[in-house]
Symmetry: D2
Subunit: 478 residues, 4 copies
């Protein structure tokens, strides 16, 4: 399942609100509903129209703000961020929003996504004398703005936005406006909501339910949204756009109660499960899903297949950051913490196990084994997405094919490796149809399917050379 | 749902292991899988055959042991405890296991359940000069043992066990044995497992999966289990027993992957949902359950009713102890943290909402309201147990009928109070049959159904007078 | 210096206040000025006339109460305690005040000193069925009271106080009174002060300056002081008394700004230094003292000897509990943290180094070495008390002579061991006179000089056998 | 006393070591001995020749590194910093050393002192597109270096060092060198020591005693010291130098065991006290000093005046950051925490109270009052430096004369304000002579006496206009 690569990806959650007397509190609750997008760090910056004040730290949102820090963030505008750790990036310095103080103004900046030309841009900027304080690519945008120097903030920002490439949903905060911008492909979701006269912007619509906001519209690719005391302004920094919504948002990342491009995530997953049952039915006694992200697909599979859906796998709800991992010795003795198979449900049964995806295969193998140890007679694995064979450069830090089992082995081989009785994946078209083709006239219905077919919607810039080399290497069997 | 009374009940989890080189670690992982039974405090005592060493504190298990405390607990025997806060009892002093040091020996003691004659016993003991260090009833057992003074530890323990009344699953640890005892009614579950030559004893069998143990047998009412270096010994302190397994363990408390009296909890819940569909079918578009405890019943209802099961309600997984609760003002604006209705699933739909129980009705009202605000056309509430109208004295701290809505209002009235379109409960017989009559020849199939019918399987001792007065008062309409 | 045995002794500080609207706060500030008497744990219990509430923990006072715990201790009466760790006793359970809840009342108890018949009493009590929760001897008093059962609290207390032997200054708190008691020898200081209509009782008078109280009188040996809403009552539990004030309180323990038996501690120390100059003059260039406890004596020595007093040794003020100790390797390279010699002061000089005492000799050796490395030509050590050759059983946990260098070596030998050019001690009479004979008609002027001459003012009870054996062993050269 | 302005000044401590296998540990111990120069934050950066790694946080050194952070800083080169909070600067972002990551190298930077043209430089840099991450002036140096772009690190650094004005002792660390630089006036002390083949550089020589290093030489004004694997290199960035050692380092800041320009600080202070006795003798019974910084002067005064030196004021050693300050109400009742007068010493006595300086006068008034309340008959205040009447711009954040009592009142008026019986200050020449004229041929013997006479050794740049305006305003009685 995709949870295997947690800690490697760069998914994050962003949230902002303007014109609300308790802007920082609202942001706190909004971020709370986005915590599934990032558990390694959290931060909020707020403005009272004069000063920008911020607090951020490593850890869960609730821990970062447990000592009354919210009280130190007065004002009616705020933005916030929750983040995953990226490789080598578990440092406080990289926790967002970043807060830049200039001579006569300040700027806060939060970013969800991954730039693909950041190294080149950074190199250029540094050779011109810029000093970067973080190892985060996010900082590039601020330096680009400062170099533009048209004398007009919005103009500088547009110039900068046209220079950065890849996946980005940005939120910015100044003393007098909250600003959002989405990359020309709209890889990452970003939506606008309203609480009375206040506007909120969030990575997922589930945040709107949490703060009592109603949905207004999605931010479209290439748009630059400005919310200030005059209200909401929709501008754009480019018209050269194409919808390429990350299909993994539907499959794994987003919360089931969110809608992306008007499509409910749980429903899309359930339809994927139904389609999978049509494409890959197997006669069995029970259907079970790997919690939490594969539950919806498992329900759909069971419903379509006419098989009973059961809780055959249970996830421990109390796995905290401070939890002591069992030693290798204890693990070999069978001590396991996160997932349990339910003997009373699977013993003596033929089990269909639904998962969202297979990354390295190690987790799938472990779960198949768990089910067998709990007495399952047969374990048939069904994956509610096509084989994951290509890296992502727009926000998930899988940047070589080496770590992807589906890039290196056939379905039959994977089946043997994970020890299943049978293995089948959902087809590409099946997935696109099940999600529901949000933009039917665009390629893949407006989805980015590069994970599955290597068809990247943009040039790869900094990553191009290494990626091509890896393809070549693989071709040559290295 | 029963989660409403979290914080009021005295449910706990206990675990012990003997003859394992990493006894404290095994206990840690075992307790981890019992964390759902108690999140307010945790502790472990271990012995190396010479000394008993313990550590305990308020908080989640992972937090209590996050600074390397396990390393200070060497030895091959250990017991541990996770506990709920009881009213007024949120003090470190009450976190178990208790550790008593005597002149020439030590004793650790952990308790799941509630004694019903503790006040009387404590009064007697104090009048004889005993000093209690805690406000916990658990301490009574140790004082009773010291007063017995037959000169024989096991004899003293049996004398003490015969004096305490109510619900109790005890675990004790001395320098040379691990001991478990279960009350004559077996209100609380307690099971024995084995890892090679090591024995483990746990409140729920889910702990066995977690530590790689295999199930051996349940502890029976009135039994006294001793595990020492000679192995497992089964003794008893009374033969006057009757099975009265708390039905709430099946309905709400236990983890779905546990078996109680050989019956899997998830399966019992799913059967309850199916039975509920037969007794209380309603035509609707979707079935949804209140997470987490009502999910199994909702799956069963949907399957039996032939209606689609959907994730209509989502629980936030990151509600930490340090979380800042929204102010009254923000709550009124619609800020909500723990539960979200999924608009994409319920909007424009007739919804069947399955819950495990209704205690005060306030939570049910809130959830019905959530669903309506998310666009549900109709909300039909179905409860997978009979009306909860009588207090419990064996481990859940509801001790007056005043707080129970079903003790004070008819089903129709409750339906109006919670704002549902219709409300129906499962019948008593329906519940007993669905659970599966673990002891078919005993009353109620060996279950305690007192919550629902007031038929308490024991005298009420300390609680008798007040309980009768409350019944009388209610009769008189006070 | 005596600081060498920090961590081994049982010195503590106690404080109480009655009839003050902010009793817990006053206790906090009072204890703060007694922090030098114990840094390992702190606690406060307060009463509002109905309930006793307490908080205690390991650590410095400021840390123990840093999360607003004082706000949870309302009421106009309070007692508190700061404690040193005793061997094996670094456990939260032993941090005082202890709080005992009985059926219809509560009792808080704090203790400064050491009982010498506690083991015997505890054995008796346990054999009668008493359960001790701590390894602290303090608990004995409460059990003795409960066994007395005259039905009268004060009577029970007096009976219990007559049974315990050794050094004790007790403070007790009930819902309606604050009580203090001092052992029949008055080993530990205890004084009464007043803030308007409120009474305070404290281990040292320096606490009175801190809380704005004026000195009323000392508590006398054998007295039982009761402060309730009717005011101050002076009673006694025995008339069989003799003053034996611990001479170490003057020499080392007490703060220089405290008065004990009407004698200022700094002044007593300065007079000791002067007397030492008269008894043991040496021609030198500078006089320096080991901070902090030997500063006053060094000033006196310099003044009397007509030599310049200099800061030749500097103590780092920021040695925190969390400080990382240098590794053996770094220590050998000369890394040193607590004390520095001042090269600019001692280089090329003949130095008189004044210390309060020599316990094991290791610290003295290290300091002499420090001074030499900083360029001192000669180091003459002068000790402002006689050779410390006998253990203490009344509050300092030196219970064998083995660890005392002066019990095992002559002054000349010690001089060679510590590497000094010369070494001289103050005489017994010199010390007694310098302190000022608080009770001139009693032996040793009312002081306990047992450290120096083995003349214990009481039988030794539990310690007698072992002590005599150790004397015998030493005599036989073992 | 000068402690009054703690929290306002910018004094810091810096330390570095090169070619030591435990560089970070040595830095930790070195910084520990400099903790008196800054208690608000601490940090260390170390290099293993390839990477620079750092850790820094708010708080005392021991707290910042209490969780094993030192282990994450391997390598044989390291620099560290302890800092005071400056107004508005209590933010983690400002804690040093700063660590800058460039494309192909890294740079760590730590600073003691205050730049006086930082605002101007920062404005210029920002208008050229530079982004500052902190509000600290220290960052200016790095940006200046990056703008220089001669392609040669040392050349860039020299260019930058020539642009910054004011007081600065810098330490820099790269992958292959440790670098130190001192401003052309040498306002702040900086010395070089040696441990075998390792070089250490520290703000004060007391750090050398702590880490077992021997003194090599002071860093001279305008020098640029480079320590790399070839050893120690002494270069300079300017020859236009003049010694202006901050006289306050001798009077207040430095530790008594440090030598500055070869003069021991304790001895300088003691001589100041002696000189003060000659200039301002008063017949009295006791002499006492305000701890800790005035102790040496008090000893000198007493010795010269032939009066007894006593501990008349005691400072509580346990004033922690987490300490709860007494409420206004309790303060008015006389609750006081930091300083106590010793009744037993001052009661009925004529007291000479020696202090290092008077800033606002409020603390002096409070101490005089303390002594009187403790029974002093007369309190004669003697200040071991001249009236402090002019702001400092080189490292102490007093930037207007308004807050300085001596800038606004005559000595007689100040005497009345603080309630003393008499008040006298040391003369300017008396101070210079007592310190000992480190550079006898330079103005004021090489000392900066601007505090006392307004004779600033450099132009004031950014501060000029406001300073002149304040002089003017004062002249006009505003």
């Amino acid at each position: 399942m995709l949870a295997e690569i947690k800690g490697l990806n760069e998914e994050c959650g962003i949230f902002g609100v303007w014109n609300h007397p308790q802007a920082a509190e609202i942001t706190y609750y909004g971020l709370h509903s986005l915590q599934h997008r990032g558990q390694e760090g959290a931060g909020i910056v707020a403005t009272d129209g004069k000063v920008l004040r911020g607090h951020r730290n490593l850890g869960l949102l609730a821990d970062v703000f447990k000592h009354g820090e919210l009280e130190g963030l007065p004002g009616s505008g705020a933005i916030g961020h929750v983040r995953y750790a990226t490789a080598g990036g578990k440092s406080l310095g990289n926790v967002q929003p970043f807060l830049f103080h200039f001579q006569d103004s300040s700027l806060a900046l939060a970013h969800n996504g991954n730039l693909i030309n950041a190294k080149t841009l950074r190199k250029e900027l540094e050779s011109e004398g810029a000093i970067f304080q973080t190892s985060s690519d996010t900082e590039v945008l601020a330096h680009l703005m400062k170099r533009s120097r048209t004398g007009d903030f919005m103009q500088d920002l547009k110039v900068a936005l046209r220079k950065v490439k890849g996946g980005f949903a940005y939120m910015l905060l100044t003393e007098n406006a909250m600003i959002a911008a989405l990359d020309p492909n709209g890889f990452r979701p970003l939506s606008i909501g309203r609480i009375g006269d206040s506007y909120v912007i969030a990575s997922e619509t589930c945040a709107f339910e949490t703060v009592g906001a109603e949905f207004v519209r999605d931010v479209e690719p290439g748009e630059l949204i400005v919310v200030d005391d005059d209200g909401l302004h929709i501008d754009s920094f480019t018209k050269d756009i194409k919808h390429s919504i990350c299909s993994m948002e539907y499959i794994y990342f987003a919360r089931p109660d969110s809608d992306i491009a008007g499509i409910n995530v749980h429903s899309a997953r359930k339809r994927s499960g139904k389609q999978l049952a049509r494409e890959a039915f197997v006669d069995a006694d029970v259907v079970t899903g790997v919690p939490d992200s594969s539950i919806s697909a498992a329900i759909g599979y069971a419903e379509e297949a006419g098989l009973p859906y059961e809780l055959g796998l249970i996830k421990n709800r109390y796995v905290a950051r401070t939890f002591i991992q069992p030693s290798q010795e204890l693990r070999e003795q069978g001590v396991r913490m996160k997932l349990s198979a339910v003997r009373g449900v699977v013993e003596g049964k033929r089990v269909v196990m639904i998962d969202d995806s297979i990354v390295r295969g190690t987790t799938s193998k472990r779960i198949v084994n768990l089910l067998r140890e709990a007495g399952a007679l047969e374990v048939h694995v069904r994956i509610a997405s096509p084989p994951l064979a290509f890296p992502c450069f727009y926000g998930i830090d899988i940047q070589t094919r080496n770590e992807l089992i589906a890039a290196n082995y056939s379905v039959d081989e994977i089946c043997r490796i994970i020890g299943a009785d049978s293995l089948q994946y959902l087809s590409e078209d099946g997935l696109i149809d099940a999600i529901g083709r949000p933009y039917p006239d665009e390629p893949y219905g407006g989805l980015c399917m590069a994970y599955f077919n290597g068809d990247y919607p943009t040039p790869l810039y900094d990553y191009e050379a290494e990626y091509l080399a890896s393809l070549e290497a693989q071709k040559n069997g290295l």
